[in-house]
């Protein structure tokens, strides 16, 4: 299952689905990186609204994707985390530390545009 990567102005928009397997997750990661390079986008939105389970592997992939994108000069916002996913991540002792987050896509988009325009981390 391929995760679409949409380009909207200077932002890449991706939405991760819950039932992606480990290979899909790693392919998503490398697809995002190569699209960033080709498009010269300045921002990346990782939307996880549809994810109803995030285990430590997926948390790691998302965290790494965000850090890689930042190394390539893009701002990153993670948005749409479901309450139950937040609950299990914290209970497991895992958090997505160092990634900017927003409640939903709407707020995430605003936040990312602001980060790009202001040029702050």
């Amino acid at each position: 299952m391929e995760i679409p990567i949409l380009k909207l102005k200077n932002i890449l928009l991706t939405s991760i689905q819950s039932d992606m397997n480990d290979d899909d997750a790693l392919k998503y990661q490398s697809d995002v990186m190569s699209t960033l390079e080709k498009s010269g986008a300045k921002g990346l939105i990782i939307d996880i609204t549809a994810m109803d389970i995030m285990d430590s592997f997926m948390a790691r992939v998302i965290n790494e994707t965000a850090r890689m994108a930042r190394l390539m000069g893009a701002r990153v916002v993670l948005c749409g985390m479901q309450p139950m996913v937040a609950l299990t991540l914290v209970e497991m002792g895992r958090e997505l530390i160092g990634v900017d987050t927003a409640l939903n896509l709407d707020k995430g988009f605003d936040k990312l545009v602001k980060m790009i325009n202001e040029g702050v981390d």
Binding site: S56, T88, M92
Partner: protein, 136 residues
């Protein structure tokens, strides 16, 4: 306690991780577990079945649900026939890994369920997860 469902899922590849956790979530929903508990158990299963695929190659995930007038219950047994976990105590510590991961899998899964039992020897590793809640 009356047994409501019993399912065995063969763990052979990554897609079986998804099947195992989706099955548990559905069986739990059917007997009245809330979505927080479904997510906890499904996440724990995801961690542990991934270990099976990664370290042992294959195994089985056995899911049994039951209910009495006072309680709903799920028991998940995950077993594999791989090399086993050499030092179970250390494997339960946060951050300990032999596989290049974060070392969050086993201790993380343990925190998500009511009861967590593990026994491991070369050729057979068994992990039992249980969760029960009042039947309302």
């Amino acid at each position: 306690m009356i047994e409501i469902s019993e399912t065995s899922i063969d763990l052979r590849n990554e897609d079986d991780i998804l099947i195992a956790r989706q099955t548990a979530r559905k069986e739990m929903a059917d007997i009245g577990f809330g979505s927080a508990d479904q997510t906890r158990m499904a996440t724990a299963i995801s961690e542990l079945t991934r270990n099976v695929i990664k370290y042992a190659g294959e195994g089985v995930c056995h899911i049994v649900t039951g209910a009495s007038s006072s309680e709903i219950h799920i028991k998940v047994e995950i077993e594999d026939y791989g090399p086993g976990i050499v030092d179970v105590d250390r494997a339960m510590e946060d951050g300990y890994t032999t596989g290049g991961g974060l070392g969050a899998g086993l201790p993380g899964a343990k925190r998500l369920v009511n009861d967590f039992q593990i026994e491991s020897q070369p050729g057979l590793t068994k992990i039992n997860l249980e969760m029960s809640r009042p039947n309302v």
